[in-house]
Amino acid sequence: MYNNLKLHIINCLNENIRFDGRKNDEHRKITVEYGISKSAEGSARVKIGNTEVIVGVKTEIGTPYPDKPGEGTIMVGAELTPLSNPDFENGPPSIQAIELARVIDRGLRESEAMDFKQLCIKEGEKVWLLLIDICTVNDEGNLFDASSLAALAALKDMHFPAFDGEKIDYKKKSEKKLELKEEPLSVTVYKIGEKYVIDPTNEEEVFVDSRLTVAATSDGTICALQKGGDSALTEEDIDAMIDLSIKKTQELRKHL
């Protein structure tokens, strides 16, 4: 029946009518909400269909890396909470959570979305650390796109907390916002059989042969890639998937 059901899904994709009626290259309804957590310095909630992800940014003071004394840094974590999917479990981060966090991290870091120099407080001694945490609330597929959108939205929402040179006062937010030079976003394109699909549901995710996450800046420059899934891709696949992803990333931007 696994093969049976897969054939059935492929038949539907061939007619460009997915199980929920969408076209192969169509996202479900997307909403972005800013400032959903007062305890975070920046936060956002993204819903794609019933999939819901929230991202919060906390700030801390740390010491810079010796090789980059004038730069602060970011760290991205992801919690695939057991609240959001009956298959997720409590415990140390699963490999899926680690991959998700690292792919989002790469998109933000490699696009040079923010100048890490603005996170320097005193060269060689004190820098800001931005701790970006992705938490899933309801997983009905496509955590990659939802997390990418929510992480960027949370950074856009962020205000530094009040800081007197010694201690952070988390109760007070300052006027100072994070300056973003680029706004990297990713759309993951999935291959099921010979068809390319975006924004899969849980049901479709089971039958994915391969996937390609493409993070791009607003002018379409690619800043990170991640190939996933058990099957290999041809060069034609890669071209087509990158094109589709960049096109869809531009559409995704309208929701910010």
């Binding site: 957590s37 057991p82 959001s84 938490c135 309801n138």
Partner: protein, 229 residues
């Protein structure tokens, strides 16, 4: 003496409750009280493995309390369970057990997950209030809903539903209690601070009354979900 936010001593912060917020779960709810927001999801009854955990007489109830890393009032909270979250998970389970009938589900488990995107005191109580709605939505047989609230001393006087600001005042006492809303029993009782025995009595009485108000809100949340369908 007044409370910092101008509330009366028996006045709860603003509450919003909603049932069915997590579609994948068998039952779910959100419960916001002041600036504390709890999400609860119920999965089950479902298979319980490894087998030695199974109870042939009745279902097992498991609770997990977790704060999202950015939901605390200070620095980021490291993900994963802590001694604090484990203890709260335990007392949450004990707070709910008297209300739930698990006899229909031998050898299986009902899993409860509570997550907080934002907190400002009273999180364990908000979690219990949310779970109670979620369990009912999951169709689990229950004698009654459980409501919970913290009572304590603010500026030396007994008050309900302390905010973080009030907790941080000198000499504040925090007494989280849970009440079985039909039979009026106390299923969670903890205390931090120093207090006279008579003030505890006063506090518990005040808390019981407040829990009846919370029950009305829980009831409304469940009915709204099904009336609008």
């Amino acid at each position: 003496m007044n409370r910092p936010d101008g509330r009366r001593f028996d006045e709860l912060r603003d509450i919003e409750a909603k049932a069915g917020i997590i579609k994948r779960a068998d039952g779910s709810a959100s419960f916001k009280i002041g600036d504390t927001i709890a999400y609860a999801a119920v999965y089950g009854p479902r298979n319980l493995y490894p087998k030695f955990l199974q109870n042939p007489e009745k279902g097992v109830l498991r609770c997990s309390y977790n704060m999202m890393p950015f939901s605390g009032s200070g620095e980021r909270i490291r993900p994963g369970s802590s001694r604090r979250s484990k203890e709260i998970s335990l007392v949450t389970q004990k707070a709910l057990l008297p209300a739930i009938n698990l006899n229909e589900f031998p050898n299986s488990v009902i899993d409860i997950f509570i997550e907080f995107p934002q907190t400002d005191a009273g999180s364990r109580c908000a979690g219990i209030c949310a779970v109670s709605i979620a369990l009912a939505e999951a169709g689990i047989p229950m004698k009654e809903l459980v409501a919970a609230v913290a009572v304590g001393l603010v500026n030396g006087e007994v008050a309900v539903d302390l905010s973080k600001e009030e907790e941080d005042l000198g000499g504040a006492v925090d007494i989280p209690i849970a009440v079985t809303t039909r039979s009026g029993k106390i299923s969670l009782l903890q205390m931090d601070g120093m207090i006279k025995a008579e003030d505890i009595k006063k506090g518990v009485a005040l808390g019981k009354k407040a829990c009846q108000k919370i029950f009305e809100i829980q009831k409304k949340a469940l009915k709204e979900k099904y009336n609008t369908q």
